[in-house]
Every structure is written in C-alpha cells, then in structure tokens.
C-alpha cells in the first residue's frame, strides 16, 4: 500500500439534501449535508436512529441519489456505485448458496478477475480476517461474528480505496462486537483504507473513529464534527475514554431533547 496522503479527499458531499416523497407528504431525511473524508481516515457517522446516517452512507455508496446537492468520490460525481468503494451491510449480505471463499471472491468474480488470481486474493483476505480454515464452509455454518468477518474480507478483496460500513456489528453481542472493533482497527492499520462507519453507539464511535460526525435527529443535519484526540491503541476503561464518551453522549442527548421539545 502507498503512503497515506492526508490531503487527498476521497469523499466529498456538498449541500446534499435527501427527501422521500410518500403519500403522507414529504419527509426530509437529510438537509444540507457537507462532508469531506480524507485518505486513510476512520470516520464515524453517529446519531440517533432515524437521523438519516444510513441514507447518507447509501448516497455515498451510490445506492440512493440526493434530491439536491452532490456526492463525489475521488472527484467524480456518484450516480451509481463506484468501483473505488465497497460497502459492508449490517447482515444478510453474504450469499447463502456460496461458500465463504466464493462469497469473498464475489467482487473479483464480477470484475472478471481470472480464477487463479481470484483464489490468491481470496486466500490473502481470508487469512487477514482469520477465516483461512473456513473457506469451504457455508455462511449458515458460521457464527454472526465470523459472517461479518467474511463480509469485511469480501469488501477488502476488491481492493477499494474507501470502505463504507453500515452498522456492521450492530447485530452482534457486546463481547463479539468489541472483539470485531479491535480486529477492524488492526485491519485498518495494516491496509490503510479510508473507512466511513455508521453507528448509533457512542462507545463504538469513540473507540474507532478519528473523526466523529454527529448528526441531528430528522431532518438529519451535521451538528458537529468531532476530532477524536485519544491516542491509539485506545483503552475503553481509561478515564480519558470515559470522559470523551460522556461528552459525546451529552451532545446526542441534548439533540434528542431539543427534538422532543419541538
């Protein structure tokens, strides 16, 4: 992997607004969102449920289009999923009829990478996520944590610049979740990927992110972009961690309070 270039902007969102038109009227999910994600950054989108953080991620992923404003990846307007990025969903995204190895190689197969080269990539990333002995297993034979590891391996195998993650550990139990977070950081440090990670867990955001983007409840606006000053590796039990978590939590609770008073 090349040197991290902090000036390089991979993701640029400008004045993005997303409205959904339903029979009951217009719902504004996101309003005038501006965001830049630089090379090698780990950015968490944090906010209460329904704040549009997943919608923002999907727009960056090219799965939803903004009603107004633009989303760019590497300087190009996104109107369909860009080959520069991949996305890891919360669950149910592995294909149950494919083995783990076939799932991990899915992206490469779609890009028509020859079989032997594909096998190389698959082996490399299975090893990286600690699943090298499970290539021939099927998703239903694996635990939830292992399945998400496979989903991460699949995302890495197509060698994207940016990895979008939509609450990838949301369905896991607390212990597995903490373990997966540590592993993801190790992978991030090894591969120098740019990661944009959606979560509603303050703890997760404080543990993982360089930057925490706090969104307001509907309509989602960026309330604050918080630079995370804690040095890595981070210790969840430290006083500094606790005080930062408290601070962020207070911001979120205030936002929810304001929303309830409206």
């Amino acid at each position: 992997m090349s040197e991290t270039d902090w000036d390089k902007v991979w993701v640029k969102v400008e004045h993005a607004t997303k409205q959904f038109f339903t029979k009951k009227g217009t719902v504004t999910a996101l309003e005038d969102v501006n965001l830049e994600v630089h090379d090698g950054e780990f950015v968490c989108l944090l906010g209460p449920s329904g704040c549009g953080k997943t919608t923002l991620l999907r727009m960056i992923g090219g799965l939803d289009a903004p009603t107004s404003g633009t989303v760019e990846i590497d300087g190009e307007i996104v109107d369909k999923p860009s080959p520069m990025m991949t996305m890891v969903f919360q669950e149910y995204s592995l294909y149950p009829w494919r083995t783990i190895a076939e799932n991990v190689g899915f992206g490469l197969e779609m890009m028509k990478v020859p079989k032997d080269k594909r096998a190389e990539g698959v082996a490399k990333y299975l090893e990286l996520v600690g699943l090298k002995d499970f290539g021939n297993s099927y998703p239903y034979e694996l635990s939830g944590g292992m399945r998400q590891r496979a989903a991460v391996a699949r995302a890495l195998a197509s060698e994207p610049a940016v990895m979008l993650m939509d609450e990838p550990f949301g369905a896991l139990d607390a212990q597995t979740r903490n373990k997966m977070q540590r592993e993801l950081l190790e992978i991030w440090e090894k591969t120098k990927k740019t990661i944009l990670f959606v979560t509603h867990s303050v703890d997760e955001a404080v543990f993982l992110a360089d930057k925490i983007v706090i969104l307001t409840p509907r309509p989602g606006r960026i309330h604050e972009i918080y630079e995370n000053p804690l040095p890595r590796p981070r210790d969840r039990t430290s006083v500094e961690f606790a005080s930062l978590r408290k601070k962020v939590l207070q911001v979120i609770e205030e936002l929810e309070q304001e929303n309830a008073n409206l």
């Binding site: 992923g61 991949t86 149910y92 995204s93 294909y95 149950p96 009829w97």
Partner: protein
C-alpha cells in the same frame, strides 16, 4: 418414523382389496390383485390393438414433457420480469387471477376448436395446466429476493446479466423449482384427463378409457397404478433436485 412405516397402509389396502376381490368374485367389478400384477409382467404386450402399457406411457410422458418445456420457456422468464417490476406485475395481476382458477379441463372444448383433435390440442391443455403454478411461484421467488443481496451485487459492479445469473436465479431457485414441481404434477394430471376426451387415440388416459369398453377392469387398475407411479417418480426427481441444488435454503435460517 422409519421409512417402512409409510408402506404399512398401502400393503393393508392391497390385502383388503384382495379379500374384497375374493368375496365379490366378479373380475368386471373388482379383479384380483394377481391379475392386475400380471399386466405389469408383460409391459410390452399389445392390449386390444391400443398399444402396450409402456408405449402408451411413453406417449403420455412425451406430451407432458413437451407441454411442460413450452410452459417453462414462457412462464419462467415472464415470472422473472414480473417479479422484478412490481408495477408491471400489478398491471398483469388482474388477468392472471382471472385465468388461474380455470381448470385445464375447461380449456378442452376451446382447444379442440382451435387446434382440432391431436397432439397440439393435448399439449395446449398441458401448457395451460402448468403455466400458472410456474409463473406464480417464479414471481413470488423473484420478488422475495433480499434487497441487500441485490444491492451487494450492485456495489460489486455486477452487470445486469451477472445480477440475473449469479443472484436472482440463485436466490429465487428454490421457489422456481417448487413451481416446476407443482406445475409438472398438474401437467401429469391434465394429460391423463385430456387423453380420456373423445378423439384421443393413445396415451395412458386413452388406454384406461379404451379397455373400459371391453370390461377389462384389471387393465384399468394397472393403468391407474402406472399413472400414479410415474407421477410419484417425477415428483421425487424434482425433490431430489431441490435438495441437491438448494440445500442452503433449508439450512439458512
């Protein structure tokens, strides 16, 4: 449950049949088991100039397979399109719902008027019979493919063709296969009934109707048993295919 528990009732039924046949003592009403069994010992023997048990079975199977293949070629692609585009499906739903409950046999007079007596007419009835179960199951299977599976394919730059072959057909495979199995079952029932219509001159349905004229009840029953066995065999074939190709469906919970 052991496998042989399924055989207890059929064996009992044969025993009761044999006892009843002895009591009735009239082969024109209820022949003895061994007389029916004897028909299967000479499967290639001509029966009153109507051909043998095997040759008539081959005729029926050929008709069913022809009609079934035609129905598949139309219903599966159509089902995929309608499953993929809910608005179009909604638009077509009225017509499908009106046509679907009409039994295949109700199409016989119209079929005779259009195609005359013969192979075409019978194949048409079969196509009608298995078209709807295949169509409806394909639509259902395709429309229930998880959105995240399709979006994952898009994220990984899959072309429309790859989405179809690597995701849609795989994911909807179990439902489509189920539709094929149900469709084939109805096709098989339809062919036998269609062959009993006036003008038919071959097939298992024809054979049992024809031998009725001679009062050969043991051949009628032998023909019925042959129809049943072929039906079960086809059904089992689809089940095996389903189990082998789509094992993931039952396990992925």
């Amino acid at each position: 449950m052991k496998w042989y528990t399924k055989l207890i009732l059929p064996v009992a039924a044969v025993l009761i049949w044999e006892i009843a046949a002895i009591l009735v003592n009239n082969p024109y009403i209820l022949p003895r088991v061994e007389d029916v069994f004897a028909v299967f010992l000479t499967p290639f023997a001509d029966i009153y100039g109507s051909g043998s048990l095997v040759s008539n079975a081959v005729v029926s199977i050929t008709r069913v397979v022809t009609g079934f293949v035609i129905a598949c070629v139309i219903a599966v692609p159509l089902g995929i399109i309608l499953g993929r585009y809910p608005r179009l499906e909604n638009f077509c739903d009225g017509l499908i719902q009106i046509l679907r409950p009409i039994p295949p046999m109700a199409w016989v007079p119209l079929s005779l008027a259009w195609f005359g007596i013969g192979m075409t007419s019978i194949v048409f009835i079969i196509v009608i019979g298995c078209f709807f179960p295949i169509l409806v199951n394909t639509i259902d299977g395709v429309s229930r493919v998880k959105k995240s599976w399709l979006e994952t394919a898009k994220i990984y730059q899959a072309s429309d063709r790859q989405v179809l072959s690597k995701v849609l057909l795989q994911a909807a495979g179990p439902a489509i296969c189920n539709g094929l199995r149900l469709g084939f079952g109805i096709a098989w029932m339809s062919v036998v009934a269609a062959e009993m219509m006036p003008g038919a001159s071959s097939g298992l349905g024809y054979l049992i109707m024809y031998t009725y004229n001679f009062g050969q009840v043991h051949i009628i029953i032998a023909g019925m048993i042959a129809i049943g066995i072929i039906g079960i065999a086809a059904d089992q074939l689809f089940r095996i295919l389903q189990k082998k190709k789509f094992a993931w469906e039952a396990l992925d919970k």
